[in-house]
C-alpha cells in the first residue's frame, strides 16, 4: 500500500507543482495575450477604415440573415457622441487550404470596401501564405549592402486588390486580363477563401444595415457572380 501511495503521490505532487506554476504563468500572460489580440484587432480596424481617420467604433451583434448565426460588425461613428455613421468593419472567416483565414474588412458608408487586412492565416508558406505577402524589391544583398529601400507601410499586393472594391468585384480570376481579384498562383483555394468570405460578409453587412443596392434577398450567398451578371452591387 505504501508503494501504491508513493506512485500516486509522486505523480500527483508533480502535477500539483506543475499546475501551480502553470497557472501562475497563465495569470501573468493570458491578459497580455488577449490584450494584444484586442489591440491588434482594434488597430486593424482603424487601419482598414483609414479613409475615415476619426472613427469611433461600436460593436453590434446581430443574427445573420443567411445562416441564423451571430454576425458581428462594428459601426464607426464620427465621434463618441455623433450619430453619423462613417463606415463599418467586420471580420470575415474563410476556410482556406489548411486554416480558417480571418480578414478584417473596412467598408465605408456607401458600401465600398475601404481596405482589408488578413489578421490570421496558417496557409502553406510560399503558396497560400502569399495572401499576406508584401511584394518586396529588396534582395538580401541589398539589405546587407545597406541599399535597401524603405518599404514600411507597403501593403500585401493581394489585399490591396480589395481596396475600393464593391460587391460585384469580389470574384477570383486567374489571369490579369480579366476583371476581378487576381488569384495567387498555385493557391486558388486560399484566394477563393479570402475573397468569398469578404464577399459573403459584405453582402450580409449591406443587407443588415440596409445600404441601397444591397441584394436584400441575397439568400444563398452567390458563389460566383458572373461578370456583368445579375447586377449585385452598382458599378462605382
Amino acid at each position: 500500500m505504501g508503494n501504491f501511495l508513493r506512485l500516486v503521490g509522486t505523480l500527483a505532487a508533480i502535477a500539483l507543482v506543475a499546475s501551480f506554476g502553470l497557472s501562475a504563468v497563465y495569470n501573468a500572460t493570458h491578459e497580455i495575450a488577449e490584450e494584444y489580440k484586442r489591440q491588434e484587432e482594434a488597430q486593424a480596424r482603424t487601419e482598414v477604415l483609414a479613409c475615415e481617420p476619426t472613427a469611433h467604433f461600436v460593436e453590434t451583434l446581430t443574427d445573420s440573415v443567411v445562416s441564423g448565426k451571430k454576425f458581428a460588425y462594428y459601426a464607426a461613428y464620427a465621434s463618441e457622441e455623433s450619430d453619423e455613421v462613417l463606415g463599418y468593419t467586420f471580420k470575415a472567416y474563410g476556410k482556406g487550404y489548411s486554416s480558417t483565414i480571418e480578414t478584417i474588412v473596412g467598408v465605408d458608408a456607401t458600401g465600398t470596401i475601404c481596405a482589408t487586412e488578413t489578421i490570421f492565416q496558417q496557409e502553406t508558406p510560399g503558396l497560400g501564405a502569399k495572401v499576406v505577402e508584401v511584394a518586396s524589391k529588396n534582395t538580401l544583398w541589398d539589405v546587407l549592402a545597406g541599399r535597401a529601400e524603405d518599404e514600411t507601410g507597403t501593403e500585401p499586393w493581394f489585399e490591396v486588390q480589395f481596396d475600393g472594391g464593391v460587391l460585384a468585384d469580389l470574384h477570383v480570376v486567374k489571369s490579369e486580363s480579366a476583371d476581378g481579384i487576381l488569384a495567387i498562383t498555385g493557391a486558388t483555394i486560399s484566394s477563393d477563401a479570402v475573397t468569398n468570405s469578404i464577399r459573403d460578409g459584405l453582402a450580409m453587412l449591406l443587407s443588415i444595415v440596409g445600404i441601397e443596392g444591397a441584394p436584400g434577398e441575397s439568400s444563398g450567398a452567390p458563389a460566383d457572380p458572373p461578370p456583368g451578371g445579375t447586377g449585385a452591387g452598382e458599378d462605382s
Partner: protein
C-alpha cells in the same frame, strides 16, 4: 579449342534480347509521336524533347561517374525517360522546364535508388509531378493550339470561362458550372452546349488524330497507337496493363462521368483525351515500376483506371493519369507481395 574454357551455370544459350534493345524499341515506338508533335506544335516540340533527353543523359552520366559505377547511358533508359518527360510537358513551357525536370527525374527519381531497375516510381512522372508542383503556372497554362485544330478540339460556343484550355480542362470547368446551383441558366445552357461539343464525333476524331491542345506527346492517339502496336508485337510491354487500365476508365467514365446521371458518360471521350493513351501504353507499362505478377498487373491497371477517373471527375486537377500511375507505383511492392502466383502443383491450404 581455347586453353581455358569458360565455366558457368546453365543455360548456355540466351535469347537475342537485351535491355538496350528493348529501350531503343520504345524509342522507335515513340518516333511517330515525336514526328507528330513536330507537325502539330512545330519545332519547339522537338527542341524541348531534345533538351529533356540531353539533360537526362548528362545527369545520368555525371551521377554514375560520381558514384563510381560504370557509365551506362547507352542502355537507353535515360533516353526513354527524357523523351517521355518531354512528352508530358505543355509545348509552350520555357526551355529550363524540361532541363530541370529531367535532372530531378534522373537524380531523385532514379539514381538515388541505385539506377536502372531499382527505382520504385516512374522517373519521368516523378519529374513531371515535381514540375507541376513547383511551377504550376507554366505547367498548366502554356498550351498551344495544334495545327489544323483548336486548343480544346472543339468550336466552343462563346463560353468565356474556358478559353485557354485543353479538352479535359474544359470538361472540368463546364461540369463545375453545371453542378454549381448558383450558375445562371444562361451559363448552364452554354455549358451544356460545350459539353455536347466535347462529345461530338468531330471532337472524337480530332482527339484521335491529335488536333487538340495538350502535352507534347500526348495529343495524337493514332500515332501513339502505332508505336504501342509495335511494342505489343515485340512482347515488350505487358498488354494486360493498358487493357485493364483503359477498360476501367471507359467503364467508370461511362457509369459515373455523365452530366445527367449514371450510365450517361462518354467513355470514348475519356479514353481518347488527355494523357491516357500515352500513360497507359508507355508509362504504366514501365516494367521497373509495375508489378511482375500476373494478377498484380491487372490490379495495377485497374487501380490506375480507378484513380484516374476519380481525379478527373472529382479531383483537383483536370487530368489524373500521372498521379494515378505514381500512386499505383507506390503500391506496386505491396501488390507484388500479395499476388504471388500459385506455383505449379501448389495446393493452397486454405482451399
Amino acid at each position: 579449342m581455347r586453353e581455358r574454357l569458360i565455366v558457368s551455370a546453365s543455360p548456355h544459350i540466351r535469347e537475342d534480347v537485351s535491355v538496350q534493345k528493348i529501350m531503343y524499341g520504345v524509342v522507335i515506338a515513340l518516333v511517330p509521336a515525336i514526328v507528330g508533335s513536330v507537325y502539330f506544335y512545330g519545332y519547339r516540340a522537338l527542341y524541348l524533347t531534345v533538351l529533356a533527353v540531353v539533360a537526362a543523359l548528362v545527369t545520368e552520366a555525371i551521377i554514375q561517374k560520381a558514384r563510381g559505377v560504370p557509365v551506362a547511358i547507352r542502355d537507353g533508359s535515360a533516353l526513354v525517360t527524357g523523351i517521355l518527360l518531354a512528352f508530358n510537358l505543355p509545348p509552350g513551357v520555357p526551355w529550363w522546364i524540361p532541363v530541370i525536370g529531367s535532372i530531378f527525374a534522373i537524380a531523385i527519381g532514379k539514381q538515388v535508388f541505385g539506377g536502372l531497375g531499382y527505382n520504385p516510381l516512374n522517373p519521368a512522372l516523378v519529374g513531371r509531378a515535381f514540375l507541376l508542383a513547383s511551377w504550376p503556372v507554366h505547367m498548366t497554362t502554356t498550351w498551344l493550339p495544334a495545327r489544323g485544330g483548336t486548343l480544346s478540339g472543339t468550336a466552343l460556343h462563346g463560353i468565356d470561362a474556358v478559353t485557354q484550355a485543353t479538352p479535359l480542362a474544359v470538361l472540368k470547368k463546364v461540369s463545375e458550372i453545371i453542378a454549381d446551383p448558383s450558375s445562371t441558366t444562361h451559363q448552364v445552357v452554354q455549358a451544356r452546349e460545350a459539353l455536347a461539343d466535347l462529345g461530338s464525333a468531330d471532337t472524337i476524331v480530332n482527339l484521335f488524330i491529335g488536333r487538340v491542345g495538350g502535352c507534347i506527346g500526348e495529343t495524337s492517339v493514332l500515332l501513339l497507337l502505332v508505336g504501342a502496336v509495335y511494342l505489343m508485337y515485340r512482347h515488350w510491354i505487358d498488354v494486360r496493363i493498358p487493357a485493364s487500365y483503359l477498360l476501367t476508365v471507359a467503364v467508370l467514365a461511362w457509369v459515373f462521368g455523365g452530366p445527367s446521371g449514371f450510365f450517361t458518360g462518354n467513355a470514348l471521350f475519356h479514353v481518347l483525351s488527355g494523357g491516357l493513351i500515352l500513360g497507359a501504353f508507355f508509362m504504366a507499362t514501365d516494367m521497373v515500376t509495375s508489378p511482375v505478377t500476373p494478377r498484380g498487373v491487372i490490379i495495377f491497371g485497374v487501380g490506375c483506371g480507378v484513380l484516374t477517373t476519380i481525379i478527373r471527375l472529382i479531383g483537383g486537377y483536370p487530368e489524373g493519369v500521372s498521379y494515378s500511375i505514381l500512386l499505383m507505383n507506390v503500391a506496386t511492392p505491396l501488390i507484388d507481395r500479395h499476388t504471388r502466383p500459385k506455383k505449379f502443383g501448389e495446393v493452397k491450404s486454405s482451399g
